[in-house]
Symmetry: C2
Subunit: 257 residues, 2 copies
């Protein structure tokens, strides 16, 4: 069988331990091409660069075996430029991550990692975002290599449903404490913001955004439940944002008052 071409990207930047682990796994499966941000791009959501220029640099971090490019843009920019300028064709798969930190529940909306996967999905490329629920730069990614490989092989073999990409979150657990893999829905949770107000040396007020993650969704079919209970969570994510169930109700409204 021909080796699949696998595009690897992330949002923590091309030198982050998470993407280096993902590259190592993908090298066992296919021909790897890396196009990733030259600096951290966390929480960039589905941002793209339209009001400034993009730079692309061929680099070699580990060895000459794989093509690697750093890009000055966002994760979504990386996917677009990879497909159009680096590969000049669609890869067989796009994987994004491994993110340093959770992208479960509502975090999928803010996540650059998942937006890269969603962008690939929009372009018709099977795509998976991987995130580890551990913000530590030196987190234990090693444990998850076999699981990431299994999930990736399954996606390559079966293909994904149209308009769907996978959001895979890995719980901060040791190998022996991992319970398995669960297909989940996105938990209905949110961030409750707190702004930390400070004063600059020049007397000007400024803010740092911080917040607390609050999950009031107690469903046992959610990604949050799975992760808390030692499972790897997989949420199928779509980019048709239409709330189809609401269309009928809105059609009863009177907009001609």
């Amino acid at each position: 069988m021909k080796k699949p071409i696998i595009l690897v990207t992330n949002d923590d930047g091309i030198s982050a331990p998470g993407i280096r682990t993902l590259i190592a796994v993908m090298k066992e499966i296919g021909t790897v091409v890396v196009v990733a941000p030259d600096s951290p791009q966390s929480a960039m959501g589905h941002a793209i660069t339209i009001n400034s220029t993009l730079h692309l640099n061929k680099i070699s971090i580990e060895n000459a075996e794989i093509m690697e490019y750093s890009c000055s843009g966002t994760p979504v920019d990386c996917v677009k430029i990879a497909v159009n300028e680096v590969l000049k064709q669609k890869p067989d798969l796009c994987v994004s991550g491994i993110n340093h930190g959770s992208n479960s529940s509502i975090n999928v909306i803010y996540s650059g990692t998942m937006s890269a996967a969603v962008e690939a999905g929009i372009e018709g490329i099977p795509a998976i975002g991987f995130s580890l629920c551990d913000y530590d730069w030196n987190a234990d990614f090693e444990t998850f290599k076999p699981h990431i490989k299994k999930i990736t092989l399954e996606v390559l073999e079966k293909g994904l449903p149209n308009g769907v990409v996978l959001n895979v979150n890995l719980p901060k657990r040791k190998q022996e404490d991992l319970k398995g893999i669960k297909i989940c829905r996105q938990a209905n949770a949110m961030w409750v913001e707190k702004f930390d107000k400070r004063v600059s040396p020049f007397g000007k007020e400024y803010y740092w955004l911080s917040g607390e993650f609050v999950n009031n969704d107690k469903g046992e079919d959610t990604d949050e439940w799975a992760l808390e209970n030692g499972y790897i969570s997989i949420v199928p994510v779509q980019f048709d944002l239409t709330a189809h169930h609401a269309i009928q109700q809105l059609n009863t409204w009177n907009f001609n008052r």
Copy 2:
């Protein structure tokens, strides 16, 4: 009846003609508070500012009647800081726009305007994003004032379904050519990218992202169809991205190979 508190934001920046029109309409309906980016933030998607500081400045563009703040962050930052630091309570409604340019179809994903509305929705605030399919800075926003007012009053009266915000797009048409308002689904369209490769005065290659919008979805229930045929399109948008229809299929997969 008590006047509703209405938060107004956008992604083109606080001085854009689109937001000034939206403010004028909202002043007829409620007590208006504006928190909008101090500079253009188009295509920022659901980006938030976590690695740098945020600045908030009280300004007065038109008159002293309304509270106006410019913010150094993204549209989503504006909503978060408005609720937490400016209003210190949830407004009765959040409106975003009027965007200079379409946010129909897949554009909803890239749009800062719609991400601001989605952020408000996540926080439990009824929210509407308005966009005009005309990129001209001096586009005719005036025509749409009565329609924006009607839609807003209907949302305030009826309330929105849980987890749903509205994506309203206005066709570039004269009053007499407007056909009405249609509730739609998001058309299955996409951007086909083209990168414009250039060389800097110093011999370094760089790129501009451009592209062509391609709609192969011929459904007459889509926002694209409505706009092309002279209707104002309203798509109910959700932020539960779970592809619920795919869960059963994924549960048949074998992740334990």
